[in-house]
């Protein structure tokens, strides 16, 4: 037998095995599971190309705490420090799950404080986030240098927000690189729910109709779907299993928010050097649905912020 043909089954075997291993370890969800039945009848080449295809990566990106804080500020809501998780609570968080959720919470609170120039809160909240990160073994996300840099730039909003952004990026990157994807997803969930908690509590119910912030909260319907897809990737993790049940209950409430549909189109604006996307669907929310969402978010948050 030709030597190339002799080694081909070995190459194919090693490749399929290793691609399979890589696909299970990467962050992205495997794209298709529906190839098993076909494999018995297709040729080796087709089979292997199919395996390569299944290794494609899919990411679900949630709005980050900074993005949510910016949206709330854009909506004109006023800052309320009483809505944040008090830093004194940090000693209550001793399990990996509670530390991961509250790392997301404290980074979210930090984002709000930085966006609203609440400089007196920044160092304490960064230290609370540092404690959670240290407890999780995320050593290079937040350290003494971060706190020092924060203190030195306490009145420089741009630098502060840059530091907060880096903190979140470092935590996520460390955990993703360390194959701790479920912990990274838990932090994202904590931050997302905290953003929803703060925003739903900032709505002035006397000015519900036409309230821009209400519209922003209604738009989170799509992000709740994104969050569920993200968590469904890690259902073998017990902490995620508990969380996903709660988030599905939130989705049940969000499913009552109708979205009108309209085709979208894009055009380039030469004045702003920016593509403008017009059209698409809009979410509209009734007052009772909003209150049900607000209550569900508070219920979820109260499970781990105490």
């Amino acid at each position: 037998m030709n030597s190339k043909l002799r080694i081909l089954p070995l190459i194919l075997g090693v490749s399929i095995l290793s691609i399979g291993l890589a696909a299970t370890s990467c962050k992205g969800k495997k794209k298709s599971e529906a190839t098993k039945e076909k494999q018995e009848v297709v040729s080796a080449d087709e089979q292997t190309m199919e395996q390569i295809k299944t290794a494609e990566k899919v990411f679900n990106a949630l709005p980050t705490p900074l993005e949510v804080a910016q949206l709330i500020k854009e909506a004109g809501a006023k800052f309320d420090a009483s809505l944040l998780n008090p830093v004194d609570n940090k000693s209550n968080y001793t399990t990996s799950k509670s530390m991961a959720l509250n790392l997301g919470v404290y980074v979210c609170d930090l984002s709000f404080a930085s966006m609203y120039d609440e400089t007196s809160l920044l160092v304490n909240y960064m230290e609370a986030a540092e404690d959670m990160a240290t407890g999780l073994g995320i050593l290079d996300a937040i350290d003494e240098n971060t706190i020092e840099r924060l203190e030195q730039n306490i009145n420089n909003r741009d630098v502060i927000m840059e530091i907060v952004s880096e903190t979140f990026l470092n935590s996520q990157a460390y955990l993703e690189d360390d194959e701790q994807h479920a912990v990274a997803a838990t932090i994202i969930t904590g931050g997302f729910i905290e953003g929803l908690y703060i925003s739903t509590n900032m709505v002035d119910m006397k000015n519900f109709r036409g309230n821009k912030l209400v519209g922003t909260i209604a738009d989170q319907k799509m992000s709740v779907d994104d969050l569920i897809r993200l968590l469904e990737t890690y259902t073998d993790n017990s902490a995620i299993q508990e969380l996903i049940g709660q988030i599905r209950e939130l989705k049940t409430e969000y499913d009552k928010v109708p979205r009108s549909s309209a085709p979208s189109s894009s055009s380039y604006n030469q004045k702003t050097n920016m593509t403008e996307i017009t059209g698409a669907a809009r979410s509209e929310i009734k007052q009772d649905t909003f209150l049900a969402i607000k209550a569900k978010v508070a219920e979820i948050r109260n499970n781990y912020v105490k």
């Binding site: 190459i11 194919l12 691609i19 990566k57 907060v164 979208s264 894009s266 996307i277």
Partner: protein
């Protein structure tokens, strides 16, 4: 067949070593190089990076909001062929492709209404049959303007 063998060998080697070494390189690449592409836009803090082989695709789903002005930066590491990306709405309609801009790595945009977009990223190929397919980090980063 020769090309297939090469693809398989590279994929095998890359996928075996990627979890331990290349992902760490991705973090540095995303933070030190790709983030710079966001310029004056504030990075949202998200981290999306993976090792891709030439010809490979990745998809990302994200909801974008009507009140913000965004910049998306999609960068491939040195040694990779250019990275192509296209953006689709929920109906599958293509809203943008960087083929329009000569495979540029950044795209600035804003939306009239919040919506979920799908971003499809594909590493193009060098088209050289005599060499192993290239592989390397691809990072996807988002920034928004603060006021």
């Amino acid at each position: 067949m020769k090309q297939l063998i090469k693809i398989l060998l590279v994929a095998a080697v890359v996928s075996l070593i990627a979890p331990v070494s290349a992902t760490a390189q991705c973090k540095g690449f995303a933070k030190s190089l790709c983030k710079k592409e966001l310029g004056a836009y504030l990075h949202d803090g998200n981290y999306h990076a993976a090792v891709l082989v030439e010809g490979e695709e990745a998809e990302l789903y994200k909801t974008f909001y009507s009140d913000l002005e965004y910049r998306m930066a999609i960068c491939g590491a040195d040694g990779l062929p250019p990275v192509q990306f296209s953006v689709y709405d929920a109906t599958g309609k293509e809203l943008y492709s960087n083929k329009e801009g000569g495979l540029n790595s950044v795209w600035d945009f804003k939306l009239e209404a919040s919506q979920q977009l799908k971003i499809v990223v594909k590493v193009t190929t060098f088209g050289t049959r005599d060499q192993f397919p290239a592989s390397g980090c691809v990072a996807i980063m988002f920034g928004f303007k603060t006021k």
